[in-house]
């Protein structure tokens, strides 16, 4: 069984959704970002999405753009990402890399898969790679047994929900709203509908919801219908404003939230 699916199933066995924290490598610097990820895990994150800095993050809003720009300028690269992967695994969470496609292609798809598996990574989330263009990544991830997480969106047709979920392993990332990353005051009503449609396309695949969740109450709301709750910009905001302690506190709040969600055990 995949490392991600196993951890999400473990949460489900406790009658709750999994908490997935996103933080980018290299902000404020590489050791500081690893410290923040460790704090997120200590506060209760089950899975850490380890962000690979990229110069052209087309799916990210201003909060993430600004910190990632710092890391890009500092020359943070895949070696730093792999160090973060090992640190998150040692802290007890499941590490999954989140990367736009070009940094992976530049590093070498096969080399990336081999090195990520060796560092203890579970797999990768690829926000601008759709399965249609992913032949090399499908091969490489199969070869070393890595998970691969693609995205579905409210605009995805039924046919694409089927083909995308069929290419996923670990979980599928349901991008709950049409738009870029960033905290929102309310969770979009389209999220639950998207989860329902995605489940209809792939009954056995965990569906985790991202885009817009910022606090424990919103996490509880999403946890009521999703297998995992993905939080990104709120973690970045906490790190920028309050350092690792604020990250830990946010994790505690969110971890309580995913336990309040009235999830019906599968």
């Amino acid at each position: 069984m995949s490392a991600l699916a196993e951890r999400i199933a473990g949460a489900r066995a406790e009658g709750r959704a999994a908490l997935i924290a996103y933080l980018p490598v290299g902000y404020p610097d590489v050791p500081g970002s690893i410290e923040a990820m460790t704090a997120a895990v200590e506060g209760g994150a089950d899975i850490v999405e380890i962000g690979v800095p990229y110069s052209d993050p087309g799916m990210d809003g201003p909060t993430i753009q600004e910190v990632v720009e710092v890391a890009v300028r500092a020359g943070v690269g895949m070696r730093d990402v792999l160090a973060a992967v090992s640190a998150v695994a040692a802290a007890g969470a499941v590490p999954v890399v989140m990367s736009y496609w070009n940094p992976i292609e530049r590093y070498g798809v096969d080399r990336f898969a081999t090195d990520l598996a060796a560092a203890g990574g579970a797999g990768a989330i690829t926000p601008d790679l759709v399965p249609d263009e992913a032949a090399a990544w499908l091969d490489a991830s199969d070869r070393v047994g890595l998970d691969r997480v693609f995205l579905v969106a409210p605009s995805s047709t039924e046919a694409r929900l089927l083909s995308t979920t069929a290419a996923c392993r670990g979980f599928v990332y349901a991008a709950s709203t049409m738009g870029v990353t960033g905290t929102r005051s309310t969770v979009s009503g389209t999220a639950e509908q998207l989860v329902t449609r995605t489940r209809a396309a792939a009954a056995d695949l965990a569906v985790c919801v991202g885009l817009g969740v910022s606090d424990g109450d919103q996490a509880a709301e999403v946890a009521a219908f999703a297998d995992g709750v993905i939080v990104g910009s709120a973690y970045v905001r906490a790190l920028v404003d309050g350092g690792p302690e604020a990250v830990r506190a946010l994790s505690v709040d969110l971890a309580a939230g995913v336990r309040r969600g009235q999830r019906v055990p599968a």
Partner: protein
Amino acid sequence: MTTTPVRPSEELLSPARPEWPDAGGHFGVYGGRFVPEALIAALDELTEAYAAMRRDPEFHAEFDRLQREYTGRPSPITEVTKFAEHAGGARVLLKREDLNHTGSHKINNVLGQALLTKRIGKKRVIAETGAGQHGVATATAAALMGLECVVYMGEEDTRRQALNVARMRLLGATVVPVTTGSRTLKDAINEAFRDWVTNVETTNYVFGTVAGPHPFPEMVRDFQRVIGDEARQQVLEREGRLPDAVLACVGGGSNAIGIFTAFVPDAGVRLIGLEAGGDGVGTGRHAASITGGDPGVLHGARTYLLQDDNGQTIESHSISAGLDYPGVGPEHSHLHDIGRAEYRPVTDTEAMEAFALLCRTEGIIPAIETAHALAGALVVGRELGPEALLLVNLSGRGDKDVETATAWFGLGQATTDGDARAVEAGHGAQPGPALGTADDTTVQDGTAL
């Protein structure tokens, strides 16, 4: 040298549709779609609507009418004999896209995409712009067709191209200065994609060049190929033969693809794209994606781009805002790899020398983008010799560049004092040459070419 015009054969008059891209938008290994899933439905909608529109005689009638009555097509061919004296005696023909309404080739594409926007029932268009030419063209088409228009433009470019910002605002468009990243075209594209992914239900993205995800490279090429289709027929009718080489500047590459496409099947015609060499490719400060870059993924397509070892896009540098882009259209990457087209860099200095030369010898002020192609013609002409016939795409006019050129040539005081004699050569920080008379305008070896 005189040539007897001969009526070309029917076969020569009907250039073929290119064999690429495939159904997924791949030009060999390049192109495709590297975008968030949220945009796939909109790209599919555009692809299908465009395919239907292409088969619709009513669309073709309307598009043809707009091109004739609004843009002013066909654009003429001008032979520039005095300019050509500096090109080793080769003959130089210019395809005058600068005479189109709005002053460049960009209008060809936006009229097509604006008609497509109306066809899919969307009321709002967004666009990115570098030099401002595509932004002006989009704002123009939006005004004509009653669409709301928002143009994203790097803050740096809004300063370099203030005239075009004013034109867009006069035309009723909203110009949004982009302050992220390098604050130039690449960041304007990122911002436009973010707008699109958020507002895709109401909004169509009118992409300005042959880059981006499928179907943009194919669709923009099809709207721009009128340049080469016309020029090929005009040259055949005028000269009774095809040109030896076709030259165009390449940033994203839409004017180049526009003039190349008709000639791709003509194996004897060399296709030469001139990239922005900035301070020189060796300095690292340039925008020559094919000459100085590697294959990777940027803005939704696999193509050549300027990137570092971590796969981060490297900031490009060029005196020309319209060429100041670290990527290039995927079809150019393919034409390069299969050897059908060649790509050479032209430095800022070489481009500005050619700019000055065309102004002084022919009374035509070209866009600085276009000046890169003219600089290439000076070198290629000398390589090919006096029998050669060169066709250069004069993609845009230079009104928007008057300030940049004034600073480069140190002409600033002349406008206030009215005394050209007082002008100092190379005034200001730019290493520009004096803008002399045609006779003493020297052209360097062009070893960078």
